[in-house]
């Protein structure tokens, strides 16, 4: 499997070159175009096994779809083009046995034996982080492709790091996070427009996005006609 990131950073698409028997699991609706030697299989399971209905329902809570699309090359030299729904970049991360916790809508595709499950990040995180209550948990061996709203940038956390809520794309599970205030006082944090932030601790990779979809929606929404 080879891949290529095209048209970065605002309208990024990923082109995969697949040989016979190779496959990719994608988010529902991510496919843009493909050659005709690929077949699609829609299931609620991860490739090759575990999962089923319960995992599908859990995925729905995390903001992803109940179903997953598995693309498999039936012939050599096939290409598949995928892209996210929103304007923004994509990033690639190699998983070698570890676990990546991905924000609900940021999971785009994965290869190999990556297990896609949903994880609960606790009530306080859900209520105050501005993120979904459930996150997508990707673990195993293979390549992982994530999407963002706006640009995406990696941070190697060593010790402590603070991210504004809504700007998290994904982080390795070697990192712990808790909700805190941005400034010393709570009022000051809110007046500064930062409100609550996520404080990460530990060692690992963290991916952040430059823009925050709910903020943009709240900015634009009131200017639109009522539903």
């Amino acid at each position: 499997m080879k891949y290529q990131m095209l048209c970065r950073p605002a309208a990024t698409a990923i082109r995969f070159h697949l040989d016979q028997g190779e496959g990719i699991t994608c988010e529902v609706g991510a496919m843009i175009a493909m050659s005709s030697g690929l077949t699609v299989n829609t299931t609620s399971k991860s490739r090759g096994g575990a999962g089923g209905i319960i995992k599908g329902i859990k995925r729905m809570f995390s903001g992803e779809s109940f179903f997953l699309n598995h693309f498999t090359a039936q012939q050599a030299n096939q290409s598949l083009l995928i892209g996210p729904a929103m304007m923004g970049d994509c990033v690639h991360h190699t998983l070698s046995g570890g676990t990546m916790i991905v924000q609900g809508t940021s999971w785009l595709a994965s290869t190999g034996n990556i297990e896609i499950d949903t994880t609960w990040q606790g009530f306080t995180s859900a209520l105050f982080s501005g993120e979904s209550m459930f996150w997508v948990k990707c673990s195993g061996l293979g390549e992982l492709f994530l999407s963002s709203y706006g640009a995406i940038y990696p941070i190697q956390v060593q010790g402590e790091y603070t991210v504004d809520t809504g700007h998290i794309v994904a982080f390795e599970d070697t990192l712990q996070f808790r909700i805190g205030k941005a400034g010393k006082s709570l009022i000051g944090s809110f007046l500064g427009g930062e409100g609550l932030v996520c404080k990460f601790q530990g060692q690992g990779t963290l991916y952040c996005q430059s823009h925050n979809p709910p903020s943009f929606g709240q900015l634009l929404g009131p200017k639109l006609k009522p539903r």
Binding site: G29, L81, P226
Partner: protein
Amino acid sequence: MSASLEHEITLRPDFSLLTVKLQQGQKVHAEPSAMASMSTTLDMKAGFKGGALKSLGRMFGGESMIVNTFTASRGPGEVVFAPGHLGDTQHYHLTGGSLMLQRGAFMAHSDGVEVTGKWQGAKGFFSGEGLVLLKASGQGDIFFNSYGAILQIDVGGDFMVDTGYIVAFEDTLMYNVTTLPGLRGGGFKRLFFSGEGLVCRFQGQGKLWIQTRYASPYLSWINQFRPTRNN
């Protein structure tokens, strides 16, 4: 009548701008409100280009009936066009063949090119692109735009594109609307749950242009932020 326009497309793919340099007497035709700036040596005139039938065809193809004509009547000059939304612009030179364009993709063309609507029948209905596509034919330059970046694909045989992502294709390509391979056996259930729905299957030899984003999912996303009406 000079068929080729001196032009440059800059700031691709996100904020693409098309600059056309006109010699005295040369013309360029563009969709309404595409013009961003122009030299004072140019005159603009709005009109129903190609007569009533061709204009109606454009209207059914998701474009305006009106086409603006920019003429370098008082000396050479330039005109800058920009798409209505964030996205890419692509140039294509017509040499007697035809180019099919997605609804709303038309931006500008030179003399010698005609743009009108073409009835697509049932496959237009199922493709989600509308019953009428735009058809550009003749000899000269045509410029079209997209939402997101444009990728060119040289089709040799068989290629499938999600119906929302087609921008343009040469009419040497045949297309039909189908479901994805692998979903066929599963019947309706698979078709609706895969989220991919229907695809256009292109066959033959020719060029195809696709866009990397599709406005419709974005519009459904922003819909949740609209205020609710108080009853």
